[in-house]
Structures are given as structure tokens and as C-alpha cells.
Assembly symmetry: C2
Homo-oligomer: 169 residues x 2
């Protein structure tokens, strides 16, 4: 006896809520950019590694490949509107962070900036990368962390594209 077979779309609709991060990077000229990334996870305890999966057509793909640095920022629920803008525009055509109304601050150990006021941010240096279908997985060593422990409620997206704020405890 099987479980009920589901089409890919039906199955994926059951997976959420999914974490919604903003990955900051810099383009070749040094301009900061932010991409909405849900495909992110830790991948090693020692060394402390995280990985992100980035569509090869994204402008951020070029910048991360070039500078070999990125920051994984977990935007707060209050930053939902700006975070959505980062998921719908391309940094190729505009200053996405400005359009999103998000400010950045200097990171501690990488040149790529951190999003001001986010719940938590992981500064990463790329240690390896590999192709997976239409995406590239960038593996980053976490070299510094920062955050805003008063704002624990950060963003998740639902399968209907609505946003949800959840806090760990």
C-alpha cells in the first residue's frame, strides 16, 4: 500500500512554511545586492559551514562567484515588505536595497555588508561550490555572526506566497 501519490506541486505546497533569507553580495563593481533565498541550510558543524543554492541566471550568482563572499541575513517580520522587493526585482537593473528600503551596515570579517536590523546574519567565505541542475550550491564557512536578539520573529514564506513571522525560543 502506498501513501497517496502527489504531483510535485501538490507535494511542495505541503512543505512550508519555508525560511526566507536575504543573501547579500557585491557585484563586480562593489555595489551591494540582496537576493531572497529560501534554499539555505547548515552543512557542517566543524568547520561551521552553511550552503545556499542560487539560480545561475541571478545577478547575485555573478557577484558571489567573483568575490567569494556572501552574508545570509534573516530579515525580521517588520522587514517583510522590503524582503519581498528583494525577491521580485533584479540588482542588474536597479539599486535593489534602496528600492526595498533596507539599509546595510559593515560586516565584521567580510567586505559584503549585512542588512541592518535583521534578526541574525552569518558572514560567509566561499570554500567550495558545485552545480546542481539549474542552480549552483555555494558552501560558505561562517567567519562571524551578528544579530538583533530583541527581534527574534523572522520571516517564513508560505506556499501561497504570504509571509509569516516566527521566532525560535
Amino acid at each position: 500500500m502506498y501513501m497517496k501519490p502527489l504531483a510535485d506541486k501538490e507535494a511542495l505546497a505541503l512543505v512550508g512554511p519555508n525560511v526566507y533569507t536575504l543573501v547579500t553580495s557585491m557585484d563586480k563593481s562593489g555595489k551591494p545586492n540582496a537576493l531572497a533565498v529560501g534554499w539555505v541550510t547548515r552543512t557542517s558543524i566543524k568547520p561551521f559551514l552553511m550552503l545556499i543554492s542560487i539560480d545561475r541566471r541571478r545577478y547575485s550568482h555573478e557577484g558571489i562567484s567573483h568575490h567569494k563572499e556572501f552574508v545570509v541575513n534573516y530579515p525580521t517580520f517588520e522587514q517583510a515588505k522590503g524582503a519581498e522587493v528583494c525577491g521580485s526585482r533584479s540588482g542588474r537593473d536597479c539599486d535593489k536595497l534602496k528600492e526595498a528600503g533596507l539599509e546595510v551596515v559593515a560586516s565584521q570579517k567580510v567586505k559584503v555588508p549585512t542588512i541592518k536590523g535583521c534578526t541574525v546574519a552569518f558572514e560567509c567565505k566561499v570554500v567550495s561550490f558545485f552545480e546542481t541542475g539549474d542552480h549552483t550550491v555555494f558552501v560558505g564557512e561562517v567567519v562571524a555572526c551578528s544579530g538583533n536578539p530583541e527581534k527574534t520573529k523572522h520571516l517564513y514564506y508560505q506556499s501561497d506566497h504570504s509571509m509569516l513571522g516566527l521566532a525560535g525560543k
Copy 2:
């Protein structure tokens, strides 16, 4: 001006709630096993790929490497107790699924079974793998999906190790 610097542990405590899946596999002798895996994400749209990050010391690592198949099961909130057992025992020493009180059913396209009654399950064939620190990332092509769309509330773990049930919508 930086954000507030945080120690790794403090930063990771802010990341949750984290999705809690059970990855089923078979050992070399064909015995089914289930491992609690939070480090899972999609990684390609076309082909439909998912990846899981598995500690190289885990018994499941051996089985997945051998059979090149796994299933990512999202246990329901009602399965929390059994799911926790799968996160605390090794299939090397016991029949973990039995100890957990979880039943399995045949999958549609892989030999590795699916956990009965879970919210959703993705049957995967390994297409590539790579080492990341102390873990191995297995990239699987999703060849079939099944689920239980009446039980949408599935498991997340908090940084204090408590379990939470959340549903996408």
C-alpha cells in the same frame, strides 16, 4: 557601525524554528532506517533536485552511499514522539523504526520505503554527492512524491529542542 556581534551558538539559537524531516534509507542488508535531518533543501527546479546533509559517522550515510536512494519524509505533529526517537538512536544498534513506533509503506519508484502517514514524502535517487566539512551532501532527483494532505501540520524543532507543528497554506 556593526550589528551586535554574536557567538555561533547565540546566532544559531535565533535561526529556528527549523524543519524536522526523517530521511529513510536502507542498510547494506536491506533493513530500513530513518534519520532525523534538519539540513535539507531544494536545490534545482528543473530537474527537481533536493539535497540533504548527512554526518559521515551516521549509519544512514553508509546505506545511502550504497543504495543511492533515500526518501525525505515530513512527519506530522502527531508523529513527534517517534520522530524524536529517530533523532536520538542509531540504526546500527537497533531497529529504529520499530523503537519509534513508526510504520513504513512501499515507495512508488525507489526501493527505500516511505513513512506511513507523514505529511509529505519525496522519493529521491542520488545524482551526485560532495564532502562539506564533517558532512556529505547527497543530491537527489525527486522521482515521485506522496503524502497525506489531510495532515498538513508537520514538525519543526526549536533551539531549545522542543517540537512545534506548523502547516503551510
